[in-house]
Amino acid sequence: MTAWLMRRLAAAIAGVWAVVTLTFLLIHLAPGTPFLPGAERPADPAVIAELRARFGLDRPLPAQYVSYLRELVRGNLGVSFARRRPVAEALVEAIPNTLVLAGAALCIDFLLGLALGIYQAARARRAADVVLGNATLFFSSVPTFWLGLVLLLVFGQWLRWFPVGGVTDPVLYSSLPWAGKVADRLWHLALPALTLGVVGAAGTARYQRAAMLEALGQDFVRTARAKGATERRVLLRHALGNALLPFITLFGLAFPFLLTGAVLTETIFAWPGMGRLAAEAIATRDYPMVTAAALVAAVMVAAGNLLADLLLAAADPRIRVASE
C-alpha cells in the first residue's frame, strides 16, 4: 500500500510542480510584464521594482526559476496590483469561503446524485427512470453560472425566498444571536450551493446509474439473489458496494469541477471566495492574483485526487490487500 501511495503522491506533486513551472514560463513569455523589453503595458514603477526583487531579474533564467520556487515555498505569492496587498493574505481570506461553498455543493452533489442514481438503477427503464434520466441529462448540460442566474432570478428576485448574494446579511448579521448567525449564513449559502450542487448531482446521478446497472448485471448479484437476499440488500450491499469504487474516483473529478464552477458561481452571487477573487483579478489584469489562484486551485485539485486515491485504497480490497 505504501509503495502505491508514494507513487500517487509523486504524481500529485508532479502535477503541482508542472503548474508552478508553467506559471513561471507563462509570466516570462507574456507581454505587458517587465520581463520583455518594449512591453506595451506601462507598469507601475513600484510594481516593477517588486517584481525585480522577487524574480531576481538580473540573473539568468534558471537562477530566477530557483528563487521563484523558493519564494513560493515560503508562501510568498507576490503582491496584488489592484489591491496593493500580499496575494497570500487575500487568498487566506477567500479560501475558507470557497471551501464552505464547495463543501456544501459537494454534499448536495454526492448525496442527491447517489440517491438519484441508485433509485434510477432500481427502477431502470421504467417511467420514473426515464423522467429522471431526462432531467439529469438537462441539468448536467446546463452552464452552471446560467443555472445560478435562473435560481437568482426566480428565488431571489421574484419570490424573494433567498438573498441575492453575499455571505451574510450586511445589516442584520452583527446583531443576530449565535443561532441566528448560523441560520443567516446557511440562508445565504443555499442558492450558490444549490447551483453548483445540482449541476454536479445531475452528472453524478448519470454516472452512478450506469455503475449500478453494470454492477447489477454481474454474476455475484445473481449469487446474492440465490442466497435469498432481499432486493434491498442486493441493491444496497452487493451492487452499491461495487458501484461505489468508481464513485470514489468521481470524487477526485468533482473537485476541479467544483473549483471551476466556483469561479463563476461566486461571481454571480457576490460570494467573496477564491473564484470571485480570480474573476475580479482578471477584470483588472491583476496577474499575480490570477496566477496565485491557479496555483492554489492546482494544489487543491491534487489534494482532492490524492484523497480520492486514499479512499479508494481503503475501500477496494484488491488494492488494499495486494499492496500490503
Binding site: 504524481a11 500529485a12 508532479a14 502535477g15 508542472a18 503548474v19 508553467l22 506559471t23 507563462l26 509570466i27 513569455l29 507574456a30 507581454p31 505587458g32 510584464t33 431502470a124 427503464r125 426515464v130 431526462n134 441529462l137 438537462f138 448536467s140 448540460s141 446546463v142 452552464p143 452552471t144 453560472f145 446560467w146 443555472l147 442566474l149 435562473v150 437568482l152 432570478l153 428576485q157 446497472l213 448485471g217 476541479p256 473549483l259 471551476t260 469561479v263 463563476l264 461571481t267 454571480i268 480570480a278 474573476a279 483579478a281 482578471i282 477584470a283 489584469r285 491583476d286 496577474y287 490570477v290 496566477t291 489562484a293 491557479a294 486551485a297 492546482a298 485539485v301 491534487a302 485526487n305
Partner: protein, 308 residues
C-alpha cells in the same frame, strides 16, 4: 422579424427534421444504426444539432438584424419578447434573436474547431503512446496525468490575464490544446488492443513504417472511441467557452457568442431576463443534444456493450 425570416426559420426546422427522418430510415439497415436510434433521445438530439447548424450557417437569412446593431438605444431598450423581436432586446437595444443566431455561429464553430484540435492532438499522442510503448508511452502518459490534474479553467484564466484580448483563433487553439488529455488515454487503450491484431502485424511485416501503420491501420480501427469522445467533448468546450466569455476573456465583443451574451445581459437580469435566459437555454439544449447523441453513439459503436 419579417415574414421572410419566419419562413427561413420554418424551413430550417423542416430541413433538420426531414434530414433526421431520412437518416433514420437509412440507418435502419445496419445494426449499429438501429442501435443508435433505439435511444429515444438520439433522434431529437440530432434534429436539434441539425437545426442549430443550419441556423448558424444561414444566419443572414434567419436573423432580421445585424447582431451588433443598436436599433434604437432610447426606444427599443430592454424590450420584452414580441412579434417584432421574438426574444426581446437587450440593454443596448440589440435584437436578442439575431444575436443568438449569429452567436450560434461563433459558439458552435469554437466548439467544433477546438474539439478538432483536441481530437487531433489526442489521437496522435494516444496512438504514439500505444504504438511505441516503452519510454514514449511512459513519458506521454505521465504528461497526460499531469494535464488531467490541472484545473483547465484556471489555466485559461491565467493565460487570458497575461495576454490581453486573445484573438479568437488563439482562443480556439488554447481550448483545444488543453482538452486532449482524456482523448489520448482512450485512443491509447484502443491502440494497445488493435496493434496486436493480425492486420497490423501483416502491415508491419510488409515493411510499412510506423507513421503509415498508425494512420492507415491503427487509427481507423480506433475511430469509435475518438468519435464518441469528440461528441461528448464539444459539449464541454461549449460550456467552457461560455464560462470564459461570461467572464469577459473568451470571445470578445462585438462578436456575439452565447457566453458573452449572458455576460452582457446578466446585470440587467431583473429588467430584461430574456437577454440572459435564451442564450443559456440555447447552450443547455445544444449540450444536451450532444450528450444524448454521444451516449447513443457510444452504444452503437461499441459491440461489446450489452443492450441496456
Amino acid at each position: 422579424m419579417t415574414p421572410r425570416t419566419w419562413l427561413a426559420l420554418l424551413a430550417a426546422l423542416t430541413v433538420a427534421i426531414a434530414a433526421v427522418a431520412l437518416l433514420r430510415r437509412r440507418a435502419a439497415r445496419t445494426p449499429a444504426g438501429r442501435e443508435f436510434f433505439r435511444h429515444p433521445p438520439a433522434a431529437p438530439g440530432l434534429a436539434v444539432l441539425g437545426f442549430f447548424a443550419i441556423v448558424a450557417i444561414g444566419a443572414r437569412l434567419v436573423a432580421p438584424y445585424h447582431p451588433a446593431a443598436q436599433l434604437d438605444i432610447v426606444g427599443l431598450q430592454n424590450q420584452a419578447p414580441s412579434w417584432a423581436h421574438p426574444l426581446g432586446t437587450d440593454t443596448f437595444s440589440r435584437d436578442t434573436w439575431s444575436r443568438l443566431v449569429f452567436g450560434a455561429r461563433i459558439s458552435l464553430a469554437v466548439g467544433a474547431l477546438a474539439m478538432l484540435v483536441a481530437v487531433t492532438v489526442g489521437s496522435i499522442v494516444g496512438a504514439m503512446a500505444g504504438y511505441f510503448r516503452r519510454w514514449v508511452d511512459a513519458v506521454l502518459m505521465r504528461t497526460v496525468d499531469v494535464g488531467l490534474a490541472i484545473p483547465r479553467l484556471f489555466l485559461l484564466l491565467m493565460i487570458a490575464a497575461l495576454w490581453e484580448g486573445l484573438p479568437l483563433p488563439v482562443l480556439v487553439l488554447l481550448i483545444g490544446l488543453t482538452g486532449w488529455f482524456g482523448t489520448s488515454r482512450l485512443v491509447r487503450a484502443e491502440v494497445l488492443s488493435v496493434r496486436e491484431r493480425d492486420f497490423v502485424a501483416a502491415a508491419r511485416a510488409l515493411g510499412a513504417g510506423p507513421a503509415r501503420v498508425i494512420f492507415r491501420h491503427v487509427l481507423p480501427n480506433a475511430a469509435a472511441p475518438i468519435i464518441v469522445s469528440a461528441a461528448l467533448g464539444i459539449g464541454n468546450v461549449l460550456l467552457l467557452e461560455a464560462g470564459l466569455s461570461f467572464l469577459g476573456i473568451g470571445v470578445q465583443p462585438p462578436l456575439p457568442s452565447w457566453g458573452n451574451m449572458i455576460g452582457d445581459g446578466w446585470r440587467q437580469l431583473a429588467v430584461a431576463p430574456w437577454a440572459t435566459l435564451f442564450p443559456g437555454l440555447a447552450i443547455a439544449v445544444v449540450v444536451m443534444a450532444l450528450n444524448a447523441v454521444g451516449d447513443a453513439l457510444r452504444d452503437a459503436l461499441d459491440p461489446r456493450r450489452e443492450v441496456t
